[in-house]
């Protein structure tokens, strides 16, 4: 539904009729859409529409039954989570997947693993290069914490943080690796209005300052409309709408399938 023909490299991500099912139950059926480099794309749709499953396909947690994912114009039948991370796909989870027993700053630093250069022995014996690297990592983490206004909690055990804050830490963990594509699964779930406003600000900043492409799942239509320039609507694993917020809102199928059922 994009209005004009794509120029090469214009799309960072393409999903070509991907299908996925659990024990015969279809979660996603023949789904296709494309994400422009540098845009914020929102996936919306009622619960069980297959949104989270889709994200899991995108960074390889699930293997699709058929179809392919094209990332940075490379075609993948199935991309392994590691591979995805190495290629710069960041990800947060619907119900936080943080490392609960570790401090905030440690959690954020784990995001840097794929940038680790110093070897085992260097780190074991604290050799210069390992030290330098550790310091660099720590500084990057510090700056991310500051960016997300988390310094106050830097040494707190993540498990003990409020839900909203945890979401923020998870964002930081994905962010620090400098992803080209960021997959956010309901980054504002269970937040009050202020927290939501803050979070959307962070996301737009990331998108603007770091030029990171963002694909996010969100229920709050208000937020979506304000945040994203591109909306894909799913219902029962099928795509029922794809376009600008305005287009989507005008789309009768969407109204029928989604807005109709929204509470």
């Amino acid at each position: 539904m994009s209005t004009h023909a794509p120029t090469p490299g214009e799309f960072i991500l393409e999903v070509n009729n991907v299908s996925l099912s659990f024990k015969g139950v279809k979660a996603i059926s023949a789904l296709s859409f494309r994400v422009r480099r540098g845009e914020i794309c929102a996936l919306i749709g009622p619960n069980g529409a297959g949104k989270s499953s889709l994200l899991n396909v995108l960074n390889g947690v699930y293997r699709p039954d058929s179809g392919e994912v094209v990332f940075e114009s490379e075609h993948f039948r199935r991309i392994h989570p590691l591979e995805a991370a190495r290629r710069g796909v960041g990800r947060t989870f619907q119900n936080n997947a943080l490392f609960k027993k570790m401090s905030v700053i440690d959690n954020v630093q784990t995001g840097l693993s794929r940038h680790m250069r110093s070897g085992f022995l260097e780190q074991a014996f604290g050799l210069p290069r390992a030290r330098r690297e550790a310091r660099a990592f720590r500084e990057q983490a510090e700056s991310v914490l500051e960016f997300l206004e988390l310094q106050a909690y830097r040494d707190v055990e993540v498990g003990s943080l409020a839900y909203g804050l945890q979401k923020r830490v998870e964002l930081g963990r994905a962010l620090i690796a400098g992803p080209g594509l960021l997959l956010l699964d309901e980054p504002m779930a269970g937040m009050n209005a202020d927290e939501k406003r803050e979070m959307s600000r962070f996301i737009t900043d990331v998108n603007r300052d770091l030029g990171t492409t963002v694909v996010l799942i969100e229920h709050d239509m208000g937020v979506v409309m304000g945040l994203s320039g591109h909306v894909v609507v799913l219902d029962y694993g099928r795509k029922v709408g794809d376009g600008t917020p305005a287009e989507v809102q005008a789309n009768p199928d969407v109204i029928a399938a989604y807005l109709g059922t929204v509470h």
Binding site: E146, G178, D209
Partner: protein, 354 residues
Amino acid sequence: MSASIHRLPAPFDHAPIEIVERRLPWGLLALLGVAFVLLPLLGGDYWLNAILIPFLVLSLAGLGLNLLTGYTGQTSVGSAGFMAVGAFATYGFLLREPGLPLPLALVAGGLFAAAVGFVVGIPSSRIKGFYLMVTTLAAQFFLEWVFVKFPWFYNHASSGTISAPRLEIFGHPLGSAEGRYLLTLGTVAVLTWVAVNLVRSQIGRNWMAIRDMDTAAAVIGIPVERYRRLAFAVSSFYLGIAGALWAFAYLGTASAGSFDINRSFQILFIIIIGGMGSIAGSFIGAAFISLLPILLSHGGQLVFGGSLDAGQVQNLQKVIFGVLIIVFLIREPEGLVRLLAKLRARLAVWPLRF
């Protein structure tokens, strides 16, 4: 991409880290001073041979298991098996390479154990949690059998036991209690330092990440399988050296029987009681588990004198251990180390402090 990170505002202060790093050494140095200088002087044979040396070796073993279980979240009940590998390998190197200096032999033995540990860890990519434990149990029994079965390992001694070759470092004999104590202490000190480096490094963070949630770890780009196997190897390296020290610095002799399943359980208890995922916890747990029995039996002798049935003391001890393990699992899953931390916290706010 990291370039763009630098477009973000410059780092905030890292005072907390500085403080941590500035504060640590003093307590540590004092501790090491006592351990290296005072204890050998004041210790006496009974203390060194029967209490301090085993305590240190068990701490080292606990440390090794803690890296695997406490930090990477893979429970193992095969620790003793890896200790055995270390002991027999070290013995083999010393026996067949007479020129080899003791420290190198220890390291070689450790590396050998690490290799075995790595192999045992291979299934960890496919088998998880409770089932993985079974793998380690299998390794335990298999290794025990190997070191009973093939006389080559113990130089065809019909007794099946290996006994310590002359212990010496660059000509200095270490046969005396003090010597063996210092050998053990030195090894433990170095390896503890390494362990601290590791758990504070990115590697350590990755281990803990895998422990806390392996799927997420993979998603953020941590090669989970490789780090699992790495943990097995490192842990086994520590256990291997612990095993060698157990055989040569402590017992003076060993057979497969010295490294049976009960030893594995003992080491597991050390980290349960001391504290999972804590270096200090390994030491505290070891101190506890090696001192309590001695205190109890001494106490028993003091109270009842010769008339006491030592067996009952032992039974009592078993019960006490069991109760403690359960109590710790229920009340303080993070072990004694956490308990002490809380204690310190209390003392900190104690009026007299201000």
